[in-house]
């Protein structure tokens, strides 16, 4: 939000904000029902693993929260850079390729990770 000066830097933050709203819609609720998994995203501004910001995309409860997951273990945890995450969410980058390149790290269940596809994120409209 406006007061949150620091987070204005990450592109992913804007997308997460939109995701939060998206999950309140019918389409978002359908998504929660379909997937029913908890993902944690560790997003680095520039370099993988450095100065990461953490987000929990909880597709069980239908929430997006900042910070690490507190209620146990997420089904899968992803690490990527800000730009790569935006590319994956927009369908510009294939998650498997990102994984192969080492541009994306995965911890947790691979089958849960496989459900992490570009269509779960809303697409930003352009002015």
């Amino acid at each position: 939000m406006a007061s949150d000066e620091k987070s204005v830097q990450l592109k992913s933050d804007a997308l997460m904000e939109q995701m939060k709203l998206h999950l309140t819609t019918d389409a978002g609720k359908a998504l929660t029902k379909k997937i029913g998994l908890v993902y944690q995203l560790n997003i680095a501004p520039k370099k993988l693993g450095f100065n990461e910001e953490f987000y929990v995309v909880d597709l069980k409860k239908g929430e997006v929260k900042k910070g690490t997951y507190e209620d146990g273990k997420p089904d899968a945890t992803f690490s990527f850079t800000d730009n790569d995450f935006i590319k994956i969410a927009a369908g510009k980058m294939n998650p498997q390729i990102a994984f192969m390149r080492g541009a994306m790290k995965i911890k947790g269940s691979i089958s849960a990770a496989q459900k992490f596809t570009p269509d779960i994120f809303p697409k930003p409209a352009k002015m």
């Binding site: 406006a2 204005v8 592109k11 019918d26 697409k123 409209a125 352009k126 002015m127």
Partner: protein, 730 residues
């Protein structure tokens, strides 16, 4: 202006039906340096041309053929030029005294009297000018092989511009000095003069001046069209580097080969690779950048893990083969593109120089004697701190972590047969996608990419034409006309601005930003440009940049400039900027513009309700501003008021039916509501108007998958719009 003439040459050429590159500069370079996109076979075919070929244009062997030769296909077809050609070449290359004389006679004889079995060293003078020039220059290059005097054939009028001539003159003199390093200066000059005079190029104009300036422009254009590598022109760098190493560059053909490789030639490069397979693999390893090494290492581990899975189905899957290939370094992934391992230019040269210095001992020997670990040590000792850099980098990637994780899950059966198939098919899909995807590397960001083929170049008043087309809503056409304008007048801020607007409306923010940045360079305080940059950066989620431009808008505004403190702060805070804008809006509540900018600003801070309010206020003042309706719609869509958004987009489209961005936004709105089938129709509609809207292609693909229309994915990947439009009419 030279640039215009050059490109207009391209347009003229296009009408004559040539399917080869329409960029004359590129063709010129191809001609000088060997045609990079042709296979060796095609090239050999075009050198000797029997006189029987009619002049109706069918003579241009190769131009009619699509450039379908896949990289490496030459290896499957050993070089077999037609019989005449090989006979000829044999005679020519062996070139003992006698043979040379024969060849010489052949050349001297007038071409018309030739019986068909004789092959004349006669460039193909039929066909489009570029083709003629190309084969002509090839004959010049080939004359260097035998070291015989170059005796040019007469050429039809080519209509070369002064710029072309300057370029040919300069490049050919430089090349000649490398080709004939063992010959006297007089001989070289004679060769070059023979070439130049036959092209009606005056060798005397060498002084700097207007001509020289043109040459600079050409160079600049060359840089721009070849991907803006940082630093000096790679070719120049190469020449400089070459000059520093006077050791044994006796064989001119290596020079050409290597140069072509640097410029990404396929044909010669493959041949080179074939001959130097060992060197190449060695070289690849040396030349590989850190990510490659890391990726190779990672995939090697993955391949080992996967290899333990005995399921033959899995063993034969493309996915497994992909991983294996990648682990062997046969393919690499760069910028999300899968590429066959190619030699990187710097590494290439390193190899060649090393070869020269090591006096006979080949890298292959070294490689074998040292064993697989040898090179690592050598690499480490040579690279010093650089090496530490990548080792650290590499270890930070925690390769073992995920490889183990992966292995564990394979062991547990998490990654069962079905999911293996899943992955394999995902890879197949992805590989297909990659072949269709046009190459657009991240490095080209911020650099305006001109269209290859532009019929408006040479138009007497492209700006006016562009404005007219823009008014008619023909955005893609307007883009071409405006590109012609800014090629003609690079300092025309209005041309760049309108070009940027056209791209934004065509749903291409990258190009919009690139064009607007050029406009801003010329006219740093243009308010429309600053606003457009603010909007485009907001769309790209680049908040800091967007804030900077919106702030500049206010600062340079004749009326509101006063609300901003005179000194620009080092870092902008959103809160401050918002306050300034609120002040401005209070100053003149009837100025639609300030409300528009305020609306964009609230989008940036995701205060969508305030943003919607601002745009609605502005719309009361400017109800027929279609882009404003779209801004309102986009804001509503992003704050999940999709039904309202669609109404707003509809307003925009009523005012401007060809508004690609609004069509694409419609698709986004439906997709975000889970109505994928509907979204597909809108994406297809947007793409039909601008097939270059990459975002829409990606979104279309997602929607097709989600709508269980996998049967249409291939049409999407191959960008088959006709097919898609038939399937998804709107």
């Amino acid at each position: 202006m030279a640039m215009r003439e050059l490109v207009s040459g391209g347009a003229a050429c296009a009408t004559s039906g040539s399917s080869s590159s329409s960029n004359p500069l590129g063709s010129l370079a191809n001609a000088l340096l060997g045609s990079s996109s042709k296979t060796q076979q095609e090239r050999l075919r075009e050198i000797p041309t029997s006189t029987a070929i009619p002049s109706d244009g069918s003579a241009s062997v190769g131009t009619g053929e699509p450039l379908s030769g896949l990289p490496g296909s030459e290896l499957d077809h050993p070089l077999q030029p037609n019989a005449q050609g090989s006979e000829f070449l044999r005679g020519f290359r062996s070139a003992d005294q006698h043979g040379l004389a024969d060849v010489w006679d052949d050349i001297q004889r007038p071409q018309v009297n030739f019986p068909p079995e004789h092959v004349l060293r006669q460039p193909d003078t039929n066909g489009p000018p570029q083709r003629v020039l190309s084969s002509f220059l090839h004959s010049f290059v080939n004359s260097s092989h035998g070291g015989i005097p170059f005796c040019p054939a007469t050429l039809p009028v080519l209509g070369l511009s002064a710029g072309d001539k300057q370029c040919i003159r300069d490049r050919s003199s430089i090349m000649a000095r490398h080709f004939f390093a063992d010959k006297s200066e007089d001989f070289i000059n004679a060769q070059v003069n023979a070439l130049l005079s036959s092209l009606e190029i005056d060798n005397d104009i060498r002084a700097p001046g207007p001509a020289f300036k043109r040459y600079q422009e050409l160079e600049k254009y060359w840089h721009e069209t070849h991907g803006m590598r940082p630093g000096p022109n790679p070719a120049d760098g190469w020449v400089a580097e070459f000059a520093q190493h006077p050791v044994g560059h006796g064989d001119p053909s290596t020079w050409v080969q290597s140069f072509e490789q640097e410029h990404g030639a396929n044909g010669w490069a493959s041949e080179f690779e074939h001959e130097h397979a060992q060197l190449a693999s060695m070289d690849h390893i040396r030349g590989a950048t850190m990510p490659h090494l890391a990726a190779m290492e990672q995939t090697r581990m993955l391949a080992n893990t996967l290899a333990q899975n005995n399921d033959p189905k899995f063993q034969n899957s493309k996915f497994f083969q992909f991983v294996s290939k990648m682990s062997r370094g046969e393919i690499t992934v760069e910028d999300n593109q899968i590429k066959p391992a190619t030699l990187s230019a710097p590494g290439d040269w390193a190899t060649e120089y090393q070869q020269q210095y090591s006096g006979g001992q080949t890298w292959a020997d070294q490689f074998l004697s040292k064993g697989p670990n040898g090179w690592v040590d050598e690499f480490a000792s040579e690279r010093g701190h650089v090496d530490d850099g990548w080792v650290n980098e590499f270890s930070k990637l925690h390769v073992n972590d995920w490889a183990e994780e992966f292995g564990r899950q394979v062991g547990e059966g998490t990654f069962g047969d079905s999911s293996a198939d899943n992955w394999a098919s995902a890879y197949d899909e992805y590989l297909n996608e990659q072949t269709a995807l046009k190459q657009q590397s991240e490095s080209s960001r911020g650099v305006y990419v001109f269209s290859d083929l532009n019929p408006y170049v040479g138009h007497p008043n492209p700006l006016k034409e562009g404005q007219e087309l823009f008014r008619k809503g023909l955005l893609s056409e307007a883009v071409l006309a405006l590109e012609a304008e800014v090629l003609k007048n690079p300092d025309n801020a209005e041309g760049w601005r309108l070009l940027g607007i056209a791209h934004a409306e065509n749903d291409d923010d990258q190009q919009a930003i690139a064009a607007m940045m050029r406009a801003q360079e010329v006219d740093p305080t243009n308010l429309e440009v600053l606003l457009a940059l603010g909007v485009s950066h907001t769309n790209e989620l680049e908040q800091a940049a967007a804030l900077k431009y919106l702030y500049s808008w206010l600062r340079h505004h004749p009326k509101y400039g006063t609300v901003v403190p005179p000194n620009q702060p080092d870092s902008l805070y959103y809160g401050d900027v918002a306050t300034y804008f609120s002040d401005a809006a209070r100053m003149s509540p009837d100025d639609a513009d300030v409300h528009i900018v305020l609306g964009v600003l609230y989008n940036l801070s995701r205060e969508y309700d305030k943003a919607i309010e601002s745009f609605q206020t502005a719309l009361k003042l400017k109800p027929r501003d279609y882009s404003l309706w779209n801004k309102l719609g986009a804001t509503q869509a992003n704050s999940v008021q999709s039904a309202d958004a669609i109404l707003a987009y509809q307003q925009a489209l009523d005012l401007k039916p060809n508004y690609v961005r609004a069509w694409a936004n419609m698709g986004i709105s439906y997709a975000n509501q889970g109505m994928y089938e509907e979204s597909i129709r809108y994406y297809v509609r947007a793409l039909a108007m601008n097939p270059k809207a990459d975002n829409a292609w990606q979104y279309l693909r997602i929607s097709l998958s989600c709508a269980s229309r996998n049967d249409m994915l291939e049409a999407c990947d191959s960008r088959n719009l006709d097919f898609l439009q038939k399937e998804f009419p709107l």
